[in-house]
C-alpha cells in the first residue's frame, strides 16, 4: 500500500511554530537565570520541555493529521517509559537499605579547611570513608 504522501492536511505556518519553539527555549533559559524558587524552576522548565515536544510532534511530525494509530503506538510506549522510571525509583532513587561505603563524607568546602579534617580523614579506611549514621 505504498501510496504517495497525501497532501490533504491544511497548510501550517511552520515558521510560526519554529518561533514558538525558540520562544520556549528562551523561556527555559530565563527561568534558569531568574532564580525563582528552585522547585518552580524544575516544574516550569519541564513544562516548557513538554510543550516544545508536543509542538514538534503535532506539527513537525504531522501527528495532528494522523489517524488513531498514533495513540496505539505512542501511548503504550509512554506508559512503559514512565512505568520503568517509576518502578526503578524505590530501589535506585530511594534506598531501602543503607549504603555500604559512602561516596565520601561531605567534602569540606575549600575555604573552611581546618583542623578537624585530619581526624576525619584518618577515620577512612582504604581511602574511603564509611558512613557512620545515615538513613
Amino acid at each position: 500500500m505504498d501510496h504517495a504522501h497525501d497532501e490533504s492536511h491544511p497548510h501550517v505556518n511552520y515558521f510560526f511554530i519554529f518561533l514558538l519553539l525558540c520562544g520556549c527555549t528562551a523561556l527555559s533559559v530565563i527561568f534558569d537565570v531568574v532564580k525563582i524558587t528552585p522547585a518552580l524552576v524544575v516544574f516550569a522548565v519541564l513544562a516548557v520541555a513538554v510543550a516544545k515536544a508536543s509542538l514538534v510532534m503535532t506539527f513537525f511530525m504531522h501527528l495532528k493529521y494522523e489517524g488513531r494509530w498514533k495513540y496505539v503506538i505512542l501511548l503504550p510506549t509512554a506508559i512503559l517509559g514512565v512505568g520503568l522510571m517509576v518502578a526503578l525509583s524505590p530501589d535506585m532513587a530511594m534506598h531501602y537499605y543503607e549504603y555500604d561505603v559512602m561516596q565520601s563524607r561531605i567534602v569540606a568546602p575549600r575555604s573552611e579547611h581546618g583542623a578537624g579534617h585530619d581526624a576525619e580523614e584518618s577515620a577512612e579506611h582504604d581511602g574511603e570513608a564509611k558512613d557512620a549514621k545515615h538513613h
Binding site: 518502578a87 555500604d100 574511603e128
Partner: protein, 594 residues
Amino acid sequence: MSSVAATTETAEHGHHAHNDDLLALLKAAPFWSTDHKVIGIQFMMTTLLMLMVGGALALGVRWQLAFPWENMPFFGALVPATAGGQIPPEFYTMLFTMHATVMIFLVIIPILAGAFGNFLIPLMIGADDMAFPMLNALSYWFMWPAIACFGCSFFFGGGPAAGWTSYPALSALSQAAPGSGHAQTFWLLGVTFVGFSSMMGSINYMTTIINMRAPGLTLFRMPLTIWSMFITAILQAFALPVLTAAGFMLVTDRILGTCFFVPAGLIVNNADPTVGGGQTLLWQHLFWFYSHPAVYIMLLPAMGMVSDMLACMCRKPIFGYKPMVYSMSAIAGLGFIVWGHHMFTSGMNPALGMTFMISTVMIALPSAVKVFNWIGTIWGGKPEFNVVFLNCIAFVSMFIVGGLSGIFMAAVPVDIYIHDTYFIVAHFHYVLFGATLFGVFGAIHFWYPKMFGRYMSEGWGKLHFFLTFVGFNGTFFPMHLLGVAGMPRRYADPYLYPYLEHFLPMNQFMTICAALMGFAQFILIGNFVLSWFFGKKAGRNPWNANGLEWATPSPPGHGNFDIPPVVYRGPYEYANPDTEADFWPQTQPPNPAT
C-alpha cells in the same frame, strides 16, 4: 467446490519446477538473499547447528555434575581450556554461561522469530514478501557477528564467566573474574548484535502484519501463529532497547571507565577500591525488564504454532479463538510488569517484592486459559497420532509442569528458599525445552513439506520424539527434587557439602538421560537433512489445512502466491457442517449453495 482439495491431488503439476526454483534460488544466492523463505531457512539451519553446539556445552556441564573433576572423554581433548580433559571450576562457569547464551540468543529466539517468523508470516497473511526484505536479510546476517563475538568470547577471550544474566560487579570489573578478560566485553557485544538482529526483525514483522495482509484477512481472521508473532514482535520492540541500552552501559563500564553499575569502595582481587557511585541493582532491573518479556518471546510463537497445529491435527476449530488472542495479549502486557520476580532475594525494596508477586501469580491466569483451550481443542477432535500431534501434546503437558513450578517461585517466601537452586533450573528447562522446543519440533515436521516440498520421515520422527521425551523428563524432572533439597545452581561441585553428597547417583542418572536426549537430536538432524533428498513428496496442502500458506505451491516460488489470495473466513473452519470436506481453506470462495 474443492478446487483446493483437487490441487492437493494434482499438486505434482508445477511442483517440480518450484522445487528447482528454490534450489536455484539457494544456489544463485547461497549467502545473500532477501527472499523471506530463504532467510527463514537460513535461520533454521543456523539455529539447528547452534542447538547442537549449545547441547554439547550442556553435556559438558552434565559431565562435571555426574563425574566431578574426572577427565572428560574425547571431548576434553577438543577444548583447550580444560586441564587435560578435566574441567576446572572457572571453565565450568564459562560452560554454563555459553550454554545458556547459545541456547537462548542463538537457538530459541532466532528459531522462533527468525526461522518460523520469517518463513510463515508472509505466507500466512498472503503477502509476497516482508515489508522490508533488505532489512530482513540484514537481520539474518547480524546473527553472524553475534556468533563471532560469542565465539571470540569463548575461544580467545577466556570465556565469559558471569552467567547469562551477567550481574555486575562480577561482569563489570575484569579483575573479578580473571579468566574472563575481554570475553565479557565480546559477550556483551554479541548480545548487542543479536539485539540489532531481533530489532530489525521485529519492526519488519509488525509492519508486515499490520499493512500487508491479503484482502479479507481482518485481524480476527489471522491465524494464532500470526497473532503470536505479532505480539512477540511488540514485546521485542519495546523491551529489547532497554537491554541494548543497559548493555552499552555495561560495556562502557568495562572499557571506558564509566561507573553505572559499580558502587564505590569495592575491593576486587586486591585491586584498588573502586571510586564509582553506581548501583548494581540497576543492571538487574534493566536486564530483567528485557529478559522477563524475553521468556515470553521464547514461548508465545510456540504457543501460536501449537494452536494452529492442534486445530489441524484434531480436524476441529480452535477452542476459544478470541480468548486465545486476548490471553496472549495479556501475557505480553503482564509480562512487562513482573520482571522483579527474578530479584526477590536481591535486596529489592520489599514493597516492590509484594507488587511483583501479585502480578507474577496473575500471569498464570492467561496461561491457564490457553492450556484449557488447547485441551478443549483436542476434546471431541479426530486426532491422527502423528509426530506433529505428539509433539504438540508434549508441549501442552510439559508447559503445565513448567508453569506450575513457576507458581512456587512466584510466591516470594517460597522463592527465598528455592531461588538459585535447581528448582529454578528445572522450571526453565521445562518451559524452554519442554514447551518451546517440543513445539518447535512439531512445527518443523508440520511446515517442512511447505519448506522443501517433501515430508519428513514419520517413523524416525516418532523415534526422535520418544527418546527426547523420555530423556528430557529423566534429565530435568529430578531437578525439582534437587532444588527442594537445596542444591544451589551454578555449582561446579555440589558434593563438597555433606547434605548433597547422596545426590551423586541421581545426577549420574540425569546425565545419562541427557546424553540419550543429545543422541536423539542426531536423529532429528538426520531426518531433517535426509528428508530433503529422500522424503516423500508433498503437495500444496499435505495436511488438508486451512491456512493461506497451504494455497501456495510447495515449496513456494519467488513471490509466494501463484494465485493472489483473497480471504473469506478464519483459519479454523475444520469440520464445518456447511462443507463436505472436513476443512475449509481461508481462500476458498463461499459456497453458493448456503
